[in-house]
């Protein structure tokens, strides 16, 4: 029997869902084993008999909360898809300003028609079984997690920092190039894609289970960053962790 999958989006750019649709050949093969019964981004007919729910986006409005709870009630397995769902992600940048101010900046005079709450990951509302982190998600990792679920296996997401994969990729360390990087505290699994392409790690996959943030802070400071710079770096994807502490 084919497993029934649903894809759901909350507040986010829908880029992770697009990544899934970008698989094309793999997706066709995957459809031999699954039925996608609910995927607004990809199809009009929708059913609510899904067993595995992939949830994209963070929660930023009151009205999203009951919808997410309903998904949790239906699905046997809930998988958070992407940085927004897993961590709160970039949406959490607004949490450092009063909500009224956010509304005014975005909607101006129309602000009164909208509601907004501090952004949060879906795990702050419902229990989450598994995570496919990243901004956007990594295609191979999404497939790895999906295959694992189909085999009844707990997906293995690395619990070591990006440095492992970055070194394996043969990269010169970002710090050696006179820049800074969040790789040493960020969960691997992306194959250090940003660094391999000449950028640094922004921490989009969130921290490892037990990140040595003190040591990372010292290293960043030694490489010229101020405490404020460091906070700004961390907040890009991981601001929710800071306020939730």
């Amino acid at each position: 029997m084919k497993a029934k999958l649903g894809f759901f989006d909350f507040t986010g750019c829908e880029g992770c869902q697009l990544e899934v649709l970008n698989f094309e050949t793999e997706l066709v093969e995957l459809l031999n084993h699954v039925d996608i019964v609910n995927f607004r981004e990809a199809k009009t007919e929708r059913e609510d008999n899904y067993e595995i729910a992939f949830v994209e986006g963070s929660i930023t409005r009151e009205s999203e909360i009951p919808r997410l709870k309903k998904i949790r009630q239906q699905a046997k397995i809930v998988v958070a898809l992407g940085a927004c769902a897993c961590l709160g992600g970039v949406n959490c940048l607004k949490n450092f300003r009063p909500m009224e101010e956010n509304l005014r900046i975005v909607y101006g005079d129309a602000a009164r028609y909208y509601d907004t709450i501090p952004a949060r990951p879906i795990s702050s509302i419902v229990p989450v079984d598994y995570y496919v982190p990243g901004c956007p998600i990594d295609k191979k990792e999404f497939l790895k997690v999906t295959k694992a679920l189909l085999l009844g296996k707990r997906p293995e997401i690395p619990n070591y920092p990006v440095c492992v994969e970055c070194k394996l990729a043969g990269n010169v360390c970002t710090f050696d190039k006179g820049e800074t990087c969040l790789g040493p505290v960020t969960r691997a699994g992306c194959n250090a894609i940003c660094i391999s392409n000449g950028r640094h790690c922004w921490g989009c996959r969130g921290p490892v289970d037990d990140p040595n943030t003190n040591s990372e802070k010292e290293i960043l400071q030694k490489h010229g960053l101020t405490v404020e710079d460091i906070l700004n770096q961390f907040r890009i994807f991981n601001g929710y962790l800071e306020v939730s502490k």
Partner: protein, 344 residues
């Protein structure tokens, strides 16, 4: 050991001949201001005066990720072993990396011979080059790894206008005869080689204040030193030290399956004792769950455990770990010197 001379202008044709005629040739190339072993397309890419490479050449014998078996699911699963190997020439390997490969040879052939490593090793030719511009974190002379007498097929030393070539095996000699223009080395040229090696020794910046033979004993009594906790506080558990290490050979084993959920493979990939979950067991336990015990374990492996098991040092002093460690804690030399000082 027999020695020949290759004039510098004859080196490029030799390498080109190897690339075109013999096998895949791997050598050190420039990479963003550093060096990395990579497949040579043409001689010009080869940098024989490099200090050290980002990753050690062991990756060609013990790849970061390697298939061990392939399987097909079904009522009667089909399983077959995989041990891929192709002829390979590792060109320009430094003596410390040769010593490291000698350790891997022992580790992978002792007790339960490992077909995946050994079949690659059998097909590999090692052409060494003396390290005359050591990495600032290296301490090879203290460990006797600045030069190598064994473990290579050919060993080159830059003596100015030419290379002295020491012949380490008949395989090496054949390659030389077939593809290189050589002549006999004169006494003066051999003396020049010694002099270049001597001059190189003076360029090392880090020294171990203890002989390697004493390390197991020193570590044996240093378990409770405050150093482990103090120094490891900064550890990021990022694994950089173990990934760049030429002697580390620990690995993890995992299964992967194709999208048809039918065919799959079991592979191993580099793993290491500095990563947080390395000593975790089923359920909740982790026998080295803190940074201190992981940091100590790595140093004990480098200076004691490997020596006791294989009679080879677990560290060759290449300095890669110290260069890679952002927290500046990874240098075995620093730790061993500190413990030596404490023991006085």
């Amino acid at each position: 050991m027999e020695n020949k001379i290759i004039e510098k202008q004859n080196m490029a044709p030799f390498v080109d001949n190897l690339i075109n005629a013999e096998a895949e040739v791997i050598g050190p190339k420039r990479k963003d201001g550093k060096y990395a072993f990579d497949k040579l397309i043409e001689t010009g890419e080869l940098c024989l005066d490099y200090d050290t490479t980002l990753l050690p050449p062991k990756m060609y014998l013990f790849p970061p990720k390697e298939t061990l078996i392939k399987f097909e699911l079904g009522k009667e699963p089909k399983v077959e072993p995989v041990a891929e190997a192709k002829p390979l020439i590792l060109f320009g390997v430094h003596p410390y990396d040769i010593k490291a490969i000698e350790l891997l040879d022992v580790a992978f052939s002792t007790t339960n011979p490992d077909i995946n490593y050994l079949s690659k090793r059998e097909k590999a030719v090692i052409i060494g080059v003396d390290c005359l511009n050591p990495n600032p974190n290296a301490f090879c002379p203290s460990l006797g790894t600045a030069t190598a007498e064994t473990g290579f097929d050919l060993m080159l030393t830059d003596i100015g206008d030419s290379y002295v070539v020491a012949i380490g095996s008949s395989k090496g000699e054949q390659l030389l005869t077939k593809y290189a223009e050589t002549r006999e080395a004169s006494q003066a040229e051999l003396a020049q080689r010694n002099s270049e090696r001597q001059k190189a020794l003076a360029r090392y910046k880090v020294t171990l204040n203890i002989s390697p033979e004493e390390l197991p004993q020193l570590l044996g009594k240093s378990w409770d030193s405050p150093w482990w906790k103090e120094k490891s506080e900064k550890c990021l558990s990022c694994g950089s030290c173990i990934v760049v290490c030429p002697t580390c050979f620990c690995f993890d084993v995992q299964d992967d399956i194709a999208l048809n959920l039918k065919e799959g493979e079991r592979y191993r990939q580099w793993d290491g004792c500095m990563l947080a979950d390395f000593a975790a067991v089923a359920g909740e336990g982790n026998f080295r769950g803190d940074k201190e015990s992981r940091f100590r374990h790595r140093m004990y492996r480098k200076g004691k455990y490997i020596w006791e098991r294989y009679e080879k040092l677990g560290c060759v002093g290449c300095g890669r770990c110290a260069s890679a460690c952002l927290a500046e804690i990874a240098s075995p030399a620093e730790t061993f010197n500190k413990l030596k000082e404490e023991s006085k």
